[in-house]
Symmetry: C2
Subunit: 588 residues, 2 copies
């Protein structure tokens, strides 16, 4: 047998290959020793092929070797592809088997610490992460990595064909603390100096526009030292895009085609474009959040004007305190049991609400938690506002605008999920535009950028920028898919004076501004083209493509929730002389 070679993968062979002499390599998935015959399921990434060792058809030495195989041995097998008497419909190769004539054990294997052939056994995630390379052999994660790869290829080919140039921006930059924490790298050559790993290539991509590159992209590694959650990793990837000249009228169709292409080429899913567009203000109004899942209805409706006539004292109190009364209608929701409504009520309670009101419209009339506080004509008015049909149920909350929106958003998602209104095969894309330029940081008592300080104001609102900055809209946009924020971008400021004004409104002193962004503000002064861009969360996109619920399932070697690599055991202590060279010491 030619060393290490194969003629086919373990997923290749079909009935039409019968009688071919073949060479396969792979892992022993299962061995069944029937005494007079040995069956081996041979596995690789492409499939499983059954191999039969029959002492009548191979040498005794080959048969003995086969008898002594154990799970996860790596072997090379020579044999003839033959039609099976009984096909195995669960395998793509199930119509054939290999009648082995020779075998070569390429690697033996100890008993693995987690089962590979047995799908039924639950393995805790710590062990799976420690033995990531074995967990991958089970299939799903490798499959996700292949999808990830295809999505990368698809992205790169699409953008390249559209004139975008991929440029690698530096991983060693300057620390400009804001937003998330930087990861720092001490310099050996410059004692007491540190590089920062990039939180995003934002300034670099804008500098490439200033340099005249015209169209840039990168699938960029980004680093943020944040407290981890289920969907966060210390490093993540984004599809980073920037273009000179043009507005969202040029950018949106490009991104829409990109997303459609990626879904089509990786999962064979059609996405319809152009995507729905909605302003941030409308979005908050209709969905109570800036990243709604629009695969299903249940739009929110503000009924404050009708609620004035609901005599329930708490509602009256809310309205007097400038609160709102808002809710949504569940189609065919009248079947919700008292228990189900109690659960929803408890759920609303998590957002600080004492009561979730409900109204059911039935053939016999209305039933409602507020029945005794609502005159028939008030009930009718509410029903009309929610466009209720017989069999529907409306849920209503009263309170301050922000918590009402937040709770209704979560209620809407919960109801959709529980009532099976979410089609997992559908992908609904939404542009949310015109976010506020600034947000108020309660903690520090100052304005901060809603997006980032390089975002252009909407020029229609420029007159308000000093008098009423919180009402100024920005030229920014998010792309929301199935209720997840998948991308975020903006038209950038291309005027150094406006950029300086924004920094000053954000309360950055001239000194601090110069230290942190001085070189960038200077760069804006030498002829900056109008430009805009976007960054798509690549890990999130791959999660959507794979239907994965955990970001770790779409990353080859992820960190756990404490930012540790359990396989390598990193981070780890390092010898003092290594720290000495870097001019640092650990502070105990």
């Amino acid at each position: 047998m030619s060393l290490f070679k194969r003629t086919h993968t373990c997923g290749d062979l079909r009935l039409q290959d019968a009688n071919k002499k073949v060479l396969l390599v792979g892992w022993v998935h299962r061995v069944r020793n029937l005494g007079s015959l040995v069956f081996v399921d041979l596995r690789d990434r492409f499939g499983i092929t059954q191999v039969l060792f029959d002492p009548k058809q191979c040498s005794e030495q080959v048969y003995t070797t086969a008898k002594n195989l154990r799970a996860e041995f790596v072997i090379q097998v020579e044999g003839v592809c033959s039609k099976k008497l009984t096909a195995n419909p669960n395998l793509s190769t199930g119509e054939i088997e290999i009648i082995a004539s020779a075998i070569n054990v390429l690697s033996e294997a100890d008993v693995p610490p987690l089962p590979i052939a047995d799908d039924t056994m639950e393995v805790n995630e710590e062990l799976r992460l420690q033995y990531r390379y074995l967990d991958m052999r089970k299939g799903p994660i490798l499959n996700n990595l292949v999808v990830r790869h295809k999505a990368m290829q698809s992205t790169r080919n699409f953008l390249s064909n559209d004139g975008f140039i991929e440029v690698a921006t530096p991983n060693f930059g300057k620390s400009t603390p804001e937003g998330a924490r930087d990861y720092l790298v001490p310099s050996r050559v410059h004692p007491g100096h540190f590089y920062a790993l990039p939180q995003s290539p934002q300034m670099f991509k804008q500098l490439l526009m200033i340099a005249g590159l015209d169209r840039y992209f990168q699938i960029a590694a980004c680093f943020r030292d944040e407290d981890l959650r289920a969907d966060r990793q210390p490093e993540f990837h984004q599809i980073d895009v920037e273009m000179s000249f043009g507005t969202t009228e040029e950018l949106f169709p490009i991104i829409e085609k990109l997303v459609s292409r990626v879904f089509k080429e990786t999962m064979n899913v059609e996405i319809s474009a152009p995507f729905v567009r909605m302003t941030y203000a409308d979005c908050m109004d209709i969905y109570g959040c800036d990243k709604p899942d629009i695969r299903y209805g249940m739009k929110l409706k503000n009924i404050s004007h009708i609620a004035e006539k609901i005599t329930f004292p708490p509602i009256q109190d809310v309205l007097k305190a400038s609160g709102i009364v808002k809710g949504f209608c569940i189609e065919k929701g009248a079947d919700l049991s008292r228990k189900a409504l109690d659960e929803l009520n408890a759920f609303a309670g998590q957002f600080g609400f004492k009561g979730l009101a409900w109204i059911k419209k039935t053939a016999e009339g209305y039933t409602s938690s507020l029945a005794k506080y609502m005159a028939p004509e008030v009930m009718d008015a509410v029903s009309t506002a929610f466009k209720m049909e017989i069999g529907d149920c409306a849920l209503i909350l009263a309170g301050n605008k922000k918590p009402v929106n937040q709770a209704l958003d979560h209620l809407r998602r919960k109801v959709a999920k529980e009532r099976g209104l979410v089609d997992p095969k559908k992908f609904a894309c939404l542009w949310v535009t015109d976010f506020p330029l600034f947000a108020w940081n309660e903690e520090d008592g100052r304005l901060e950028s809603e997006h980032h300080p390089f975002t252009s104001p909407n020029f229609e609102d420029m007159h308000l920028i000093e008098s009423d900055p919180l009402s100024v809209r920005s030229s920014s946009y998010d792309l929301v898919i199935n209720g997840y924020e998948c991308a975020s971008g903006s038209q950038r400021i291309h005027d150094s004076r406006l950029q300086e004004k924004i920094f000053s409104i954000l309360g950055l002193s001239a000194q601090s501004c110069k230290e942190r962004f001085g070189f960038f503000v200077e760069a804006l002064r030498y002829g900056t083209p109008p430009h805009l861009g976007i960054a798509l969360g690549f890990d999130r996109l791959v999660m959507l493509l794979c239907g994965a619920e955990n970001i770790r399932d779409v990353i080859a070697f992820p960190k756990n929730a404490k930012a540790r690599d359990l396989m390598q055991e990193a981070p780890s202590p390092v010898p003092q002389d290594q720290l000495d060279m870097l001019h640092i010491r650990v502070r105990h």
Copy 2:
């Protein structure tokens, strides 16, 4: 005019576009105000287009705006594409000009600190790096970045089509000090612990093979804290490839096709494959080095056996001390002047040689620096050994093998360069194979890996591994292009016991081995497929493609020779509270 829009780039328009109404955007490259007419050269990455502002053909306001333009303003121009009376043959758009009817100044510009339109002015590199984004506007670096992008695309498409899956391996790994220094990242969550940035994804890619991925690649960022030289940067990129099953017979053709494809698709250069193969031993013999430029001849010849008859005492001393006499023949080299030979002699002196001997063969007979020490038949024998023709000149050195090889290698390169023997349009690729497995580290008095500790020995030499390790060849290979090492790879060890033995021969204690590579050696135990791989220096490859002599010219935002980013001013000091959070302090 539609905001920020263009109908064409500044490199698009040709004679056949005459009479079209067009919108262009770009930078003012030059303005010539002729009093009654204003000519503007409008520039973008794609070209330069001449724009004419004629007060008879545009409003006064437009004309006044045009008169006040200065270099590097960003403008939008509307006008009609028209045939020029006198074409400019230096521009691809030179047959047309735009008769402007409207103008929109999108950005003004201060006078830039380095000239952009003036190619003749030398600008020092520090200033160029500080204003990288302006230096890019001059063209060459942007063009290199476009070539780099094409090379990336070409690589990815080729490998993807060949079944390789691109996987991003982690940037936060474990410090396993060896070879170059690690860059470290202090952990906030785990006080006193550090991540290391990857020097290469070596272990990860091998783990992906153990995981069953079958074929992997990545254009990977790698980090080494080395002292910088002209061709080094703290971070660099490599095309990292690994495949399971198969040997160099499978891998070499893939890499040959990859390299040919990249040269073809980026520079339209044909590279002939298969590449020449040569063992390390032969290579040292014939070229005196392991990365020869084989675009030209002048192969080295050991003439020690003839030199026994040369009566020059220093040569006799060398031979007695087991030294060698070696040289090469320069075709038509008899025209080398005494001055030129003196210069070569001085050059050899830099490598510790007191004298470079030479022999010229002319129609009148031999002339030689060794004439009086060589009998006519000895002269003939040497001439025959070097295959000298009339008009040739041989250069000869005597000494210990290593310095003789080193000096002859450099002499050969120098002679080739000076005599114009190097065809800059030719790309000659060479596989150098069978490197020694170990090298002797004089300083530490111990064996070290020539390639890296995961390299498989050549199994023919396994019996020598303990008795004579320095004579053991490895299953490793370099790809040399035009005298530069462009790639390096090997068959990997896939047997955990052999891997442990290699670590022990390298003098790693069981404890140290466990701490640094324990998880990896364990991984080898669970069924590791035979696998091999290679890493191509991507920056070096792009340098060859672009004909660049400095690595900084093929990187968007490079560091200077002291690892500083002069544009951002990184690395930099950071506030104490940031270090406090990371549990470190600067050691003064």
